[in-house]
């Protein structure tokens, strides 16, 4: 073929995402653009992206309870986190690469910048992993439930327990990094990062306990679906033009 396929995506739903500037999260004030974004029609550069190739060449590394390679399992509440990566139209997105990082059961990150919080490190837990979605868009991690941890944004500030998710989907324009939270966390009302997402869409970042995922005598199960921008249907395309 001499012409590449340029897919037509719907507009990004900015109203579903946090604003760039959200003063309750102090560091956003100096790290947010002040000009309006410049709107362009997506070209091949934006409708392609590294997801498929990165997924092809990345190793599955989806069990964080064992991937420190010490031969001993990590300490904490073992959990399974599973779900689908979907597009807005509800179709599974296969070959999506998910990269995750998180604190250990005590809320401590195995990162050199974490020096202030006197919680123990777990030598058997790195807190990083990656996996790819299968042909239906489904993924699955086994990990340890992370602990909440303090941060310096305001006095006595604590982040609700969360797992950072990086999602490389089919296109540059579907790029998403988010955080997965756990249902019922009492810290939700106090966390400016969680609350930076509009009220109507916050809940989409919350994983729910699912007894069908829970494995007897092994691990509790949580379900977390991720929704990326999707292509326009033919009808919508007509509307747009």
């Amino acid at each position: 073929m001499t012409e590449p396929l340029i897919r037509h995506y719907g507009p990004k739903a900015y109203s579903d995402h946090p604003p760039f500037r959200y003063p309750d999260y102090k560091s956003t004030v100096k790290r947010s653009p002040t000009h309006d974004l410049l709107s362009i029609v997506a070209t091949l550069s934006e409708t392609t992206g590294p997801g498929p190739i990165w997924s092809d060449i990345s190793e599955e590394d989806a069990d964080l309870t064992l991937n420190a390679g010490t031969g001993s399992p990590a300490i904490g509440e073992r959990i399974i986190v599973t779900g689908h990566v979907l597009d807005e139209n509800g179709n599974g997105v296969p070959g999506t690469i998910l990269e995750i990082w998180q604190a250990n059961a005590c809320g401590r990150y195995a990162h050199w910048r974490e020096t202030a919080f006197p919680a123990p490190l777990d030598p058997n837990f790195l807190g990083v992993g990656q996996c790819r979605t299968n042909e239906t868009g489904e993924y699955r991690f086994t990990t340890i439930k992370p602990g909440p941890y303090p941060w310096g944004n305001h006095p006595n500030a604590w982040r609700p327990a969360h797992i950072h998710f990086s999602v490389l989907g089919p296109a540059l324009l579907t790029r998403l990094v988010t955080q997965m939270y756990f249902e019922g966390d009492p810290l939700f009302p106090l966390d400016p990062i969680y609350n930076s997402a509009p009220e109507h869409s916050r809940e989409r970042m919350v994983a729910h306990y699912d007894h069908d995922v829970t494995e007897e005598n092994w691990a509790l199960g949580y379900r977390f679906d991720i929704v990326l921008r999707g292509e326009l249907s033919m009808l919508e395309e007509l509307d747009e033009s």
């Binding site: 029609v41 139209n89 869409s201």
Partner: protein
Amino acid sequence: MSPKLGETPSQTVGPYYSMRLGGEGQNVIPVPAEGGQRITITGKVFDGDRNHVEDALLEFWQANPGGRYNHPDDTRELDLDPRFSGFARAMSDFKTGTYRLETVKPGRVPDLEGAFQAPHISVVVQARGMLDPVFTRIYFSDEEEANHDDLILRRVPEARRGTLVAELEPGSDPAIYWFDIRFQGEDETVFFDF
């Protein structure tokens, strides 16, 4: 029409993303089998106070030197080394703020009007303190003619175009281009919505 599912909101990468994203060697795209000009792109990311951002994560997406993306939608019959990913990540150095991308100069890819875009690299910028990513492009200062005809650059107000053009270091070999990103201020980088 069935109702759409809502997009999952973006959240910051926070201060610890380098546990997983941007590690050793991810800032290098090796020269592919089809050849190409080896280049380095380097610079800093600046916040609204003109302090360097010590923990920015830059992601780069580019075509190969022949102008083809390694992506299933780019079905054109142009040479493509399957090991050429076209994707890299660079982090700003915690002390100096400098990032560094080692890659090959991309070729020209089609625009939407039957012509070709100027060579460019797409960039996604994220950091602690950013709740959403911002998207920009790197063009090259020694591609004046192509830049002049580029449909997207033409949409950028002339006074701001320079924020998208990496400056070739005179006499550098292999070529070094300087490209800074500024979140705010008079010369704030142009960020795109698409």
